[in-house]
């Protein structure tokens, strides 16, 4: 018998055989002594065959590990977000819906929440949308700061259901922006200090046309992430305070994890966990806060699944936050 901890064998010994010793299987204690377990147990799986020698243990461990990564809400572990938009539940303490949608057939609206797994309740979504289309009117902020992102004009609302089918990317629901006028507006600038971190999952499918994944600006400072501003097939994250402090690199129009960090007076941009090497810039606008565009121009042609915004330096947590997001959205870092 072998015992492992986080995939590493820590002990070996002789096991007990239930069929011959007549002992009952016990969980949370021992069936043949008075020793009892004190702590929390989330899952126990008993296989009747050897899964170590067969090699299955690796995939079983990955499956279990992914489940608990995905089902421990991100903000439970990495708290303090200033705004958070997602199609999965990001915080155990958040009791609201994920999105408010409008169906095309009669402009009726409905809030859509999460299922028991903390993912978008697509059953309710499809029951509401029927065979038509459904669009996102409001992407609710899960941070507790009520920075909801909204679009009241129906013609500019991004799509979530197309002809009775949920729009997906890598098997997970995605909000689709059409690249012509779709955009969500955030009512207030989400930052109160200069150190920030923004992680997002999305894509821009145009190789040359400019587009913004987001742009957040007050009267003096702008944080934005956009595409194709200085060269074709590129992304850029910028902080503008009198001048650009920007970083970016080439980009291949696929679903990716973008992140932007400003800490220690330095801007850093990452694509799937890899830091950019170019000083590419992107558009932004003062006194305007938008998702999927830059306040009336430079619209995203692609989709977004999640944007998490911190009003603080997350250098120490960046890799873990991005690992959590990448695991859930099936992005390879």
């Amino acid at each position: 018998m072998k015992s492992t901890l986080n995939g590493v064998v820590t002990a070996t010994g002789n096991g007990k055989t239930f069929s011959t010793n007549g002992l009952d299987l016990a969980v949370g204690g021992s069936s043949y002594s008075t020793v009892q377990f004190r702590g929390n147990l989330s899952e126990a799986i008993l296989f009747g065959v050897d899964k170590y020698t067969s090699g299955d243990i690796a995939s079983i461990r990955e499956n279990v590990g992914d489940y608990f990564t995905q089902n421990t809400p991100l903000l439970d572990t990495y708290s303090g977000a200033a705004a958070a938009y997602s199609l999965r539940k990001l915080s155990s303490s958040y009791s609201g819906s994920a999105i408010r949608v409008r169906r095309s057939s009669d402009n009726t609206e409905q809030d859509i929440g999460f299922n028991v797994f903390g993912e978008l309740d697509t059953v309710s979504l499809l029951a509401f949308a029927g065979t038509g289309d459904a669009f996102v009117k409001t992407w609710y902020c899960q941070s507790g700061n009520s920075n909801d992102a909204t679009q009241t004009a129906t013609g500019s609302q991004p799509k979530i259901v197309s002809s009775g089918a949920v729009i997906v990317e890598n098997g997970k629901p995605a909000v689709q922006f059409d690249g012509t006028d779709d955009e969500l507006s955030v009512s207030s600038y989400p930052f109160s200090q200069s150190d920030i971190y923004i992680a997002s999952i999305g894509k821009h499918t145009d190789t040359t046309t400019e587009g913004n994944l987001y742009s957040f600006g007050n009267a003096s400072t702008i944080y934005a992430l956009g595409f194709n501003r200085d060269a074709a097939s590129t992304y850029s994250a910028t902080r503008f305070l009198g001048a650009h402090e920007a970083q970016g690199d080439s980009y291949n129009q696929t679903q990716s994890l973008f992140s932007q960090l400003y800490a220690s007076s330095t801007t850093s941009a990452y694509l799937d966990g890899v830091q950019g090497t170019q000083s590419y810039t992107c558009r932004g606008r003062f006194n305007s806060n938008s998702i999927g565009g830059r306040d009336g121009l430079y619209f995203l042609n692609g989709n977004i699944q999640e944007i998490v915004i911190y009003d603080s330096d997350q250098s120490a947590n960046r890799t873990n936050i991005e690992s959590n997001i990448a695991t859930f959205y099936d992005i390879t870092l």
């Binding site: 057939s105 402009n107 004009a153 129906t154 013609g155 500019s156 012509t180």
Partner: protein, 134 residues
């Protein structure tokens, strides 16, 4: 096609009031007033942008945007707002409402109306760049 329709003032209606009334009436084609929930009372189809002069307003339109038609939809108010429509176009618009389940917005744009592109709008000062970083 994405573009902009600059809405001219007409009679007692300013450019702003007329633009906002048109986009509101387009919304009402899909969800007529008699069927609306309270949250639908401010619904619109297209966004309205304001020129920095504070006088001119424009609709940010998508001519391919599909507008579903409610069986209870009425057109009288929309027609009074879209004075550029010819008699033929009014009949065509009425036909859509009577016979179609939906129609693209571009099908009811009056023939005398020009849909402007982004370059035109920037050139004519609709999007001043003093607030934009370059």
């Amino acid at each position: 096609m994405n573009g902009y329709i600059i809405v001219l003032p007409e009679g007692t209606l300013t450019s702003e009031h007329r633009a906002k009334a048109i986009t509101r009436e387009l919304y009402n084609i899909t969800a007529p007033l008699v069927t609306q929930e309270p949250y639908q009372k401010d619904g619109t189809v297209f966004g309205v942008i304001e020129h920095p002069d504070g006088i001119q307003f424009a609709l940010q339109v998508d001519t391919e945007y599909n507008i579903p038609v409610s069986p209870l939809a009425t057109l009288e108010k929309l027609i009074t707002l879209m004075l550029e429509l010819s008699e033929v176009e009014i009949r065509q618009l009425s036909s859509y409402v009577l016979n179609a389940q939906s129609f693209p917005f571009g099908a009811i744009v009056p023939s005398t109306t020009t849909v402007r592109d982004q370059a035109y709008m920037i050139e004519h000062g609709w999007f001043p760049n003093e607030n934009e970083i370059d």
